[in-house]
Subunit: 129 residues, 2 copies
Amino acid sequence: MAKDPTTDLSRRERQILDVIYRLGRATVAEVVADLPDAPSYSAVRALMGIMEEKGQLTHEQDGARYIYLPTVSREKARKGVLKSVVQTFFDGSSRQAIAALLELPESKFSREELDALSALIEKAKKEGR
Amino acid sequence: MAKDPTTDLSRRERQILDVIYRLGRATVAEVVADLPDAPSYSAVRALMGIMEEKGQLTHEQDGARYIYLPTVSREKARKGVLKSVVQTFFDGSSRQAIAALLELPESKFSREELDALSALIEKAKKEGR
DNA sequence: AGCACGCTGCTAAAGAACTAGCATCCTCGA
DNA sequence: TCGAGGATGCTAGTTCTTTAGCAGCGTGCT
Protein backbone atom coordinates (compact mmCIF):
# COMPACT_ATOMS: atom_id res chain seq x y z
CA MET A 1 0.00 0.00 0.00
CA ALA A 2 1.26 3.38 -0.95
CA LYS A 3 2.02 5.43 2.10
CA ASP A 4 0.60 8.87 2.29
CA PRO A 5 3.55 11.19 1.81
CA THR A 6 1.99 13.96 3.85
CA THR A 7 1.77 11.63 6.80
CA ASP A 8 5.42 10.88 6.69
CA LEU A 9 6.79 14.37 7.02
CA SER A 10 8.07 16.20 10.03
CA ARG A 11 6.68 19.59 10.83
CA ARG A 12 9.29 21.63 9.05
CA GLU A 13 9.48 19.27 6.16
CA ARG A 14 5.81 19.68 5.54
CA GLN A 15 6.09 23.44 5.78
CA ILE A 16 8.87 23.41 3.26
CA LEU A 17 7.09 21.11 0.89
CA ASP A 18 4.01 23.28 1.09
CA VAL A 19 5.97 26.33 0.14
CA ILE A 20 7.44 24.53 -2.82
CA TYR A 21 4.04 23.35 -3.95
CA ARG A 22 2.73 26.85 -3.60
CA LEU A 23 5.55 28.27 -5.68
CA GLY A 24 5.90 25.31 -8.00
CA ARG A 25 9.66 25.38 -7.74
CA ALA A 26 11.92 27.27 -5.42
CA THR A 27 15.45 27.97 -4.29
CA VAL A 28 16.45 27.65 -0.69
CA ALA A 29 16.37 31.41 -0.32
CA GLU A 30 12.84 31.59 -1.64
CA VAL A 31 11.69 28.92 0.73
CA VAL A 32 13.21 30.76 3.65
CA ALA A 33 11.55 33.96 2.55
CA ASP A 34 8.17 32.27 2.36
CA LEU A 35 8.36 30.44 5.64
CA PRO A 36 6.18 32.07 8.27
CA ASP A 37 8.55 31.53 11.20
CA ALA A 38 11.71 31.38 9.22
CA PRO A 39 14.49 29.40 10.82
CA SER A 40 18.09 29.78 9.72
CA TYR A 41 19.14 29.45 6.14
CA SER A 42 21.40 26.58 7.09
CA ALA A 43 18.60 24.74 8.76
CA VAL A 44 16.37 24.94 5.75
CA ARG A 45 19.18 23.90 3.52
CA ALA A 46 19.92 20.85 5.62
CA LEU A 47 16.29 19.86 5.71
CA MET A 48 15.92 20.16 2.01
CA GLY A 49 18.96 18.01 1.57
CA ILE A 50 17.38 15.36 3.72
CA MET A 51 14.13 15.61 1.84
CA GLU A 52 15.98 15.05 -1.37
CA GLU A 53 17.59 11.95 0.07
CA LYS A 54 14.21 10.70 1.19
CA GLY A 55 12.91 11.27 -2.29
CA GLN A 56 10.41 14.03 -1.73
CA LEU A 57 12.38 16.65 -3.61
CA THR A 58 14.68 16.88 -6.58
CA HIS A 59 16.76 19.75 -7.75
CA GLU A 60 17.80 21.22 -11.02
CA GLN A 61 21.00 23.14 -11.38
CA ASP A 62 20.58 26.78 -12.29
CA GLY A 63 23.92 28.46 -12.61
CA ALA A 64 25.41 28.33 -9.17
CA ARG A 65 22.35 27.34 -7.30
CA TYR A 66 19.76 24.66 -6.96
CA ILE A 67 16.16 24.96 -7.85
CA TYR A 68 14.15 22.45 -5.94
CA LEU A 69 10.96 20.84 -7.06
CA PRO A 70 8.75 18.09 -5.73
CA THR A 71 9.07 14.58 -7.09
CA VAL A 72 5.35 14.11 -6.88
CA SER A 73 3.45 16.15 -9.42
CA ARG A 74 1.17 18.85 -8.19
CA GLU A 75 -1.70 16.96 -9.75
CA LYS A 76 -1.05 13.86 -7.76
CA ALA A 77 -0.36 15.77 -4.61
CA ARG A 78 -3.64 17.60 -5.00
CA LYS A 79 -5.56 14.40 -5.29
CA GLY A 80 -3.83 12.87 -2.34
CA VAL A 81 -4.44 15.84 -0.13
CA LEU A 82 -8.06 16.16 -1.08
CA LYS A 83 -8.64 12.52 -0.54
CA SER A 84 -7.20 12.59 2.93
CA VAL A 85 -8.97 15.78 3.90
CA VAL A 86 -12.29 14.40 2.76
CA GLN A 87 -11.57 11.25 4.66
CA THR A 88 -10.51 12.93 7.86
CA PHE A 89 -12.83 15.88 8.09
CA PHE A 90 -15.83 15.10 5.94
CA ASP A 91 -16.60 11.46 6.68
CA GLY A 92 -15.49 10.52 3.22
CA SER A 93 -18.13 12.69 1.62
CA SER A 94 -16.82 14.86 -1.19
CA ARG A 95 -20.19 16.50 -1.34
CA GLN A 96 -19.82 17.88 2.14
CA ALA A 97 -16.36 19.11 1.33
CA ILE A 98 -17.62 20.93 -1.71
CA ALA A 99 -20.43 22.45 0.28
CA ALA A 100 -17.94 23.71 2.83
CA LEU A 101 -15.83 25.21 0.08
CA LEU A 102 -18.81 26.97 -1.37
CA GLU A 103 -19.55 28.50 1.98
CA LEU A 104 -16.00 29.42 2.82
CA PRO A 105 -15.79 33.18 3.38
CA GLU A 106 -12.56 33.35 1.42
CA SER A 107 -14.12 31.79 -1.64
CA LYS A 108 -15.92 34.65 -3.36
CA PHE A 109 -16.89 33.22 -6.68
CA SER A 110 -17.40 35.25 -9.78
CA ARG A 111 -20.43 34.69 -11.94
CA GLU A 112 -18.30 32.92 -14.49
CA GLU A 113 -16.88 30.54 -11.94
CA LEU A 114 -20.30 29.60 -10.73
CA ASP A 115 -21.40 28.93 -14.25
CA ALA A 116 -18.38 26.77 -14.82
CA LEU A 117 -19.18 24.76 -11.73
CA SER A 118 -22.76 24.31 -12.78
CA ALA A 119 -21.53 22.96 -16.04
CA LEU A 120 -19.27 20.50 -14.30
CA ILE A 121 -22.11 19.23 -12.19
CA GLU A 122 -24.35 18.83 -15.19
CA LYS A 123 -21.63 16.85 -16.82
CA ALA A 124 -21.38 14.59 -13.80
CA LYS A 125 -25.10 14.05 -13.86
CA LYS A 126 -25.00 12.91 -17.45
CA GLU A 127 -22.05 10.63 -16.91
CA GLY A 128 -23.56 9.07 -13.82
CA ARG A 129 -26.58 7.96 -15.73
CA MET B 1 -2.55 36.26 16.48
CA ALA B 2 -3.94 32.79 16.14
CA LYS B 3 -1.35 30.36 14.96
CA ASP B 4 -2.29 27.70 12.53
CA PRO B 5 -2.63 24.59 14.64
CA THR B 6 -1.81 22.21 11.83
CA THR B 7 1.46 23.99 11.30
CA ASP B 8 2.45 23.58 14.89
CA LEU B 9 2.23 19.83 15.15
CA SER B 10 4.87 17.20 14.95
CA ARG B 11 4.40 14.22 12.73
CA ARG B 12 2.85 11.85 15.21
CA GLU B 13 0.82 14.57 16.82
CA ARG B 14 -0.78 15.37 13.54
CA GLN B 15 -1.49 11.73 12.87
CA ILE B 16 -3.14 11.42 16.24
CA LEU B 17 -5.17 14.56 15.84
CA ASP B 18 -6.35 13.37 12.45
CA VAL B 19 -7.56 10.13 13.91
CA ILE B 20 -9.45 11.97 16.60
CA TYR B 21 -11.05 14.27 14.07
CA ARG B 22 -12.01 11.30 12.01
CA LEU B 23 -13.61 9.57 14.95
CA GLY B 24 -14.86 12.69 16.64
CA ARG B 25 -13.70 11.50 20.01
CA ALA B 26 -11.50 8.62 20.96
CA THR B 27 -9.76 6.72 23.69
CA VAL B 28 -6.07 6.01 23.55
CA ALA B 29 -6.76 2.45 22.54
CA GLU B 30 -8.94 3.55 19.66
CA VAL B 31 -6.30 5.92 18.44
CA VAL B 32 -3.70 3.18 18.53
CA ALA B 33 -6.01 0.88 16.62
CA ASP B 34 -6.56 3.50 13.95
CA LEU B 35 -2.96 4.48 13.50
CA PRO B 36 -1.48 3.03 10.32
CA ASP B 37 1.98 2.33 11.75
CA ALA B 38 0.98 1.99 15.35
CA PRO B 39 3.74 2.54 17.89
CA SER B 40 3.35 1.33 21.44
CA TYR B 41 0.39 2.14 23.57
CA SER B 42 2.65 4.01 25.94
CA ALA B 43 4.02 6.17 23.22
CA VAL B 44 0.65 7.26 22.01
CA ARG B 45 -0.47 7.89 25.54
CA ALA B 46 2.48 10.13 26.24
CA LEU B 47 1.94 12.04 23.04
CA MET B 48 -1.67 12.63 23.81
CA GLY B 49 -0.75 13.86 27.24
CA ILE B 50 1.60 16.38 25.69
CA MET B 51 -1.02 17.47 23.23
CA GLU B 52 -3.39 18.09 26.05
CA GLU B 53 -0.80 20.25 27.77
CA LYS B 54 -0.27 22.18 24.58
CA GLY B 55 -3.99 22.74 24.35
CA GLN B 56 -4.86 20.77 21.26
CA LEU B 57 -6.80 18.11 23.09
CA THR B 58 -9.02 17.82 26.12
CA HIS B 59 -10.36 14.78 27.78
CA GLU B 60 -13.54 13.73 29.48
CA GLN B 61 -13.58 11.10 32.12
CA ASP B 62 -15.52 7.99 31.27
CA GLY B 63 -15.41 5.54 34.10
CA ALA B 64 -11.81 4.58 34.45
CA ARG B 65 -10.57 5.96 31.19
CA TYR B 66 -10.18 9.13 29.25
CA ILE B 67 -12.02 10.05 26.14
CA TYR B 68 -10.08 12.60 24.20
CA LEU B 69 -11.50 15.24 21.95
CA PRO B 70 -10.08 18.21 20.08
CA THR B 71 -10.31 21.67 21.57
CA VAL B 72 -10.93 23.16 18.17
CA SER B 73 -14.33 22.27 16.79
CA ARG B 74 -14.53 20.14 13.71
CA GLU B 75 -16.20 23.03 11.96
CA LYS B 76 -13.32 25.37 12.56
CA ALA B 77 -10.77 22.72 11.77
CA ARG B 78 -12.50 22.01 8.48
CA LYS B 79 -12.41 25.60 7.45
CA GLY B 80 -8.81 25.99 8.41
CA VAL B 81 -7.74 22.92 6.52
CA LEU B 82 -9.68 23.79 3.39
CA LYS B 83 -8.34 27.28 3.41
CA SER B 84 -4.77 26.12 3.60
CA VAL B 85 -5.23 23.41 1.02
CA VAL B 86 -6.78 25.84 -1.41
CA GLN B 87 -3.97 28.24 -0.75
CA THR B 88 -1.19 25.72 -1.15
CA PHE B 89 -2.41 23.54 -3.96
CA PHE B 90 -4.99 25.53 -5.87
CA ASP B 91 -3.53 29.02 -6.10
CA GLY B 92 -6.18 30.29 -3.74
CA SER B 93 -8.94 29.28 -6.10
CA SER B 94 -11.77 27.44 -4.40
CA ARG B 95 -13.28 26.84 -7.79
CA GLN B 96 -10.33 24.75 -8.86
CA ALA B 97 -10.49 22.80 -5.65
CA ILE B 98 -14.14 22.04 -6.18
CA ALA B 99 -13.48 20.99 -9.72
CA ALA B 100 -10.79 18.61 -8.50
CA LEU B 101 -13.17 17.16 -5.96
CA LEU B 102 -15.79 16.60 -8.59
CA GLU B 103 -13.31 14.70 -10.66
CA LEU B 104 -11.83 12.69 -7.83
CA PRO B 105 -12.27 9.00 -8.58
CA GLU B 106 -13.27 8.37 -4.97
CA SER B 107 -16.06 10.85 -5.11
CA LYS B 108 -18.92 8.98 -6.78
CA PHE B 109 -21.86 11.28 -6.29
CA SER B 110 -25.40 10.10 -6.17
CA ARG B 111 -28.05 11.84 -8.14
CA GLU B 112 -29.36 13.46 -4.98
CA GLU B 113 -25.98 14.79 -4.04
CA LEU B 114 -25.50 16.38 -7.40
CA ASP B 115 -28.90 18.01 -7.16
CA ALA B 116 -28.03 19.33 -3.73
CA LEU B 117 -24.85 20.82 -5.09
CA SER B 118 -26.66 22.42 -7.98
CA ALA B 119 -28.99 24.00 -5.50
CA LEU B 120 -26.10 25.38 -3.50
CA ILE B 121 -24.58 26.93 -6.57
CA GLU B 122 -27.85 28.49 -7.61
CA LYS B 123 -28.09 29.95 -4.16
CA ALA B 124 -24.62 31.42 -4.46
CA LYS B 125 -25.53 32.94 -7.77
CA LYS B 126 -28.52 34.69 -6.31
CA GLU B 127 -26.63 35.94 -3.31
CA GLY B 128 -23.79 37.20 -5.39
CA ARG B 129 -26.05 39.39 -7.38
C1' DA C 1 -15.00 -9.49 48.84
C1' DG C 2 -11.34 -10.87 45.87
C1' DC C 3 -9.17 -11.02 41.44
C1' DA C 4 -7.93 -9.98 36.84
C1' DC C 5 -7.79 -6.53 33.42
C1' DG C 6 -7.20 -2.20 31.58
C1' DC C 7 -5.89 2.52 32.00
C1' DT C 8 -3.25 6.39 33.91
C1' DG C 9 1.17 8.77 36.06
C1' DC C 10 5.81 8.96 35.81
C1' DT C 11 10.77 8.40 34.61
C1' DA C 12 14.23 7.78 31.58
C1' DA C 13 16.60 7.13 27.39
C1' DA C 14 17.25 6.47 22.14
C1' DG C 15 16.48 8.73 17.90
C1' DA C 16 15.37 12.21 14.67
C1' DA C 17 14.92 16.93 13.72
C1' DC C 18 16.88 21.26 13.78
C1' DT C 19 20.52 24.69 14.08
C1' DA C 20 25.08 26.98 13.45
C1' DG C 21 29.47 28.00 11.33
C1' DC C 22 33.40 27.21 8.46
C1' DA C 23 35.62 25.96 4.15
C1' DT C 24 35.10 25.69 -0.73
C1' DC C 25 33.34 26.41 -5.24
C1' DC C 26 30.92 28.75 -8.84
C1' DT C 27 29.13 32.95 -11.25
C1' DC C 28 28.87 37.47 -12.54
C1' DG C 29 30.54 42.17 -13.02
C1' DA C 30 34.42 45.53 -13.14
C1' DT D 1 41.62 38.48 -15.32
C1' DC D 2 40.52 39.28 -10.60
C1' DG D 3 37.56 40.11 -6.74
C1' DA D 4 33.06 40.06 -4.37
C1' DG D 5 28.82 37.85 -3.45
C1' DG D 6 26.26 34.08 -2.94
C1' DA D 7 25.40 29.01 -2.73
C1' DT D 8 26.67 24.45 -1.56
C1' DG D 9 29.27 20.44 1.28
C1' DC D 10 30.30 19.13 5.56
C1' DT D 11 30.76 18.45 10.64
C1' DA D 12 29.19 18.91 15.13
C1' DG D 13 26.10 20.00 18.81
C1' DT D 14 21.61 21.09 20.83
C1' DT D 15 16.85 20.49 21.31
C1' DC D 16 12.59 18.25 20.76
C1' DT D 17 10.11 14.27 19.45
C1' DT D 18 9.11 9.64 20.15
C1' DT D 19 9.57 5.49 22.45
C1' DA D 20 9.40 1.82 26.29
C1' DG D 21 8.58 -0.03 30.88
C1' DC D 22 7.25 -0.11 35.69
C1' DA D 23 4.14 1.06 39.50
C1' DG D 24 -0.39 2.16 41.16
C1' DC D 25 -5.37 2.76 40.88
C1' DG D 26 -10.07 2.16 39.44
C1' DT D 27 -13.71 -1.07 37.32
C1' DG D 28 -16.26 -4.83 36.57
C1' DC D 29 -16.84 -9.83 37.02
C1' DT D 30 -17.19 -14.04 39.78
